[in-house]
Amino acid sequence: MLRLPRFRLIEPRSYGEAAQLLAENGAGQLDRARGTPTLRVMLVAGGTDLFPNMKRRQFTPEVLISLARVHDAAGIQRNGHLDISAGTTLTAVASDAGIREGYTALAQAAEVVSTPQLRNMGTIGGNICLDTRCNWYDQSLFWRTAEGFCMKTNPDVVCRVATSSPKCLAVASADTVPALLALGASVHFEDAGGAREVPLSELYREDGIRPMAMRQDEVLTDITLPESEGWRSTYMKLRDRNSFDFPIAAVAAAVRWDGTTVTAARVAITALGSRPVLVEDAARPLVGTRLDDVTIALAAEAVHKVARPMDNTSGTISQRKRAALVFTERALRSLRPA
């Protein structure tokens, strides 16, 4: 049986305490004594991403800070805008009537994450912080030993995807993120000193190793979505199987209607690079239109242009690039008024 490496588990009761514990246990410090360099302390929420990674020895933290017992870590509140606590399970997000109605893309995205069991365990905060994925990286210690490791776990080694790449090319793979981007989400962090709010669109960067502009000593606490009046949204995902699989191309689109005219729009993609991307060039042409086919084709073309899949997931580059185009068209067409 594949087992977890040994660790010390701490179970804080509040985010503040969790942030305090992060700082105390050397947040961000690398432990070089455990084979490949690994973070000394890590946060875990549902564990559905981190535990498999730990079993494969991609991470072997000495200290694990579980957020499972944090008070009020889960819940969905509405007062004009929508506030989702980071510890809310994906099942709860997917089945929430208000989200299904007003923030459809998010409900749809949450509903197609992995499997029912994983959604019962995994949280939306965890999905936002999902580690980037790569089929040269998401492998066991044995496999990676045979491989000779890769840049993501050993800086002295090349990226196996493109051996001359100066950057790790692991892939952003969280379903909910493009949906949240399309819905204009912002996220809240807490550290030992206080709290801050960041637009989600500023959180990610084109770096497979450190994909998030998030400090190691802060904790993601909440997600805020603006008012949904007039907005329609949807999420479409390419994967090999209709369950279990991470996206290998995905598009979220949201448009605000005023009568028969689009007054605002956002299109976001993921699994087509190391960073989920809010594609401004796809959204811009939509505004002021009725989502006619010509306009949609322009948007799809813009998405196609920024989609830069590499050969490190299931499927192929051309298949995924094409799916980005086709799904953008289909997503936008589905947002036309009935």
């Binding site: 049986m1 977890l4 588990l9 179970e11 499997t115 069991q117 994983l118 365990m121």
Partner: protein, 155 residues
């Protein structure tokens, strides 16, 4: 790191055991509590064989830390029957031949129980979605659908 005392509530019984903190609920159920009915096919959350219920919700024992289950009520396949009476799902699975090798079956049964507890008369589509996290390599799922429908019709 030394073992820690943990009290779990499993199939209606409080069980206190000493376990390594890094051992998952799957390991504790099978190795400390002798509840080997819960199977494992990958230990990475990629097959669903180790599905158990925690407070009635299907979760994967291979990715669950016992310490975090707390007061939660854990139900495994051994807790499905009540005394002498098998659960309707167990009878229907036998009648329909829904267990071939039987290895995915405990996890499948737990998922199906949670489904029927929440939805008395699920449609074929609802069943297919509910069990989409439980891989079966033998049946092609058809007999499993029929068994779940049969159990639903009887309860």
């Amino acid at each position: 790191m030394s073992k820690q005392l943990i009290t779990l509530h499993v199939n209606g019984e409080p069980r206190t055991i000493a376990a390594d903190p890094h051992h998952t609920l799957l390991e504790v159920l099978r190795e400390e509590l002798g509840l080997t009915g819960t199977k494992h096919g990958c230990e990475l959350g990629e097959c669903g064989a180790c599905t158990v219920l925690v407070d009635g919700i299907p979760v994967l024992a291979c990715l669950t830390l016992p310490a975090l289950v707390g007061e939660g009520e854990v139900t495994t396949v051994e807790g499905l029957a009540t005394g002498e009476s098998l659960h309707p799902l167990q009878i229907a699975f036998a009648e329909e031949g829904a267990a071939q090798c039987g290895y995915c079956t405990p996890g499948m049964l737990m998922t199906a129980k949670a489904l029927l507890d929440a939805t008395a008369r699920p449609t074929r589509d609802e069943i297919a979605h509910a069990i989409s996290g439980n891989l079966c390599r033998c049946t092609g799922y058809t007999a499993i659908y029929e068994a779940i429908e049969k159990a639903a019709a009887r309860s």
